[in-house]
Symmetry: C2
DNA sequence: TAATTACAGATAATAAAAGTCTATAATATC
DNA sequence: GATATTATAGACTTTTATTATCTGTAATTA
């Protein structure tokens, strides 16, 4: 059980995008090179993010991607949910009627909520400064 | 991304076992029937739990499984870790040297820790009473 | 029109999980 | 000690989800 690579790519891409000067776009080609992965696969992920309203894309010669206008309000959870879907780690396996208030379910859901709360309360923008010194240059590290 | 069925089976089985009168054993055959799943597959999971010291098994005619002597100290996390392994939801995808203190990693790890903390602080024994009224009968619901 | 870019859909490859089958070892009872 | 009963081990198959590729299409700029 682990996050999909797609989520990983999405997070890194989002962090990268949010460090760009406002309004500045970057092409998928470059984004793929930076992270050393296939453009077409990354494309699918970025399309999801675009449809989810987290980024904006424009085709054409000077096109590319940029973070959406809601850039200051995008949480980690937003990104993860957009890519993974309305994911729930725990699902009841047995189907029975009296499952309201089941302690097993309660515990598992509650724990999961604790994680999500943290993810929902951390915003990409919070990292923007730090990232410029650390991770962003690191993400580019491979290319450099 | 979700918990494996194995974890699900393990949790239900553990909860069932802990509701049994102390020292009482139950065979794999029965456990499998109760949850309506294949005995051989369940066997693998139970063996993991046994090796992990969460349950004790005895072969032979009057054999079967029972919760281990540490029964009062078994947390949800114990069960999950035993089955899923030392699982970490988030793994760095890129390998670079300056990755200490990376904010992305910090956030993801911290969120994960929040979930695990909850799971580590909830013990199976806490459910034992409740379960007798609710879930356990439910688990048996299929067979009844 | 031409070049560049994102988008869509089908398909293939890979990996992980879920499940099966068969044979073996340990225990209790007779 | 023989026999029935139970758990254990390992190889194997099936299924499912993820990851990745390939090809063609649509939108935008110059
Ligand atoms: S978690 Fe509770 S409600 Fe859900 S399947 Fe298990 S026993 Fe039933
Ligand atoms: S999470 Fe941070 S340290 Fe890990 S790969 Fe991404 S940028 Fe590097």
């Amino acid at each position: 059980m682990k996050y999909s690579k797609a989520t990983n790519y999405a997070l890194h891409t989002m962090v990268y995008l949010i460090t760009l000067p406002k309004g500045r776009t970057i092409g998928m080609q470059s984004l793929a090179e930076i992270q050393d992965l296939s453009p077409t696969y990354l494309s699918k992920i970025l399309t999801k993010l675009a449809k989810g309203g987290l980024i904006e894309s424009t085709p054409g010669v000077k096109g590319g991607y940029k973070v959406s206008k809601s850039r200051d309000d995008i949480s980690f959870l937003d990104v993860i949910k957009t890519v993974e879907g309305e994911t729930n780690l725990f699902h009841c396996s047995i189907e029975h009627n009296q499952n309201k208030g089941c302690m097993i379910e309660n515990v598992m859901i509650q724990a999961e909520e604790n994680m999500k709360e943290e993810l929902a309360n951390t915003f990409l923008i919070d990292l923007a400064d730090q990232v410029d010194e650390n991770s962003r240059s690191l993400i580019k590290g491979k290319a450099n």
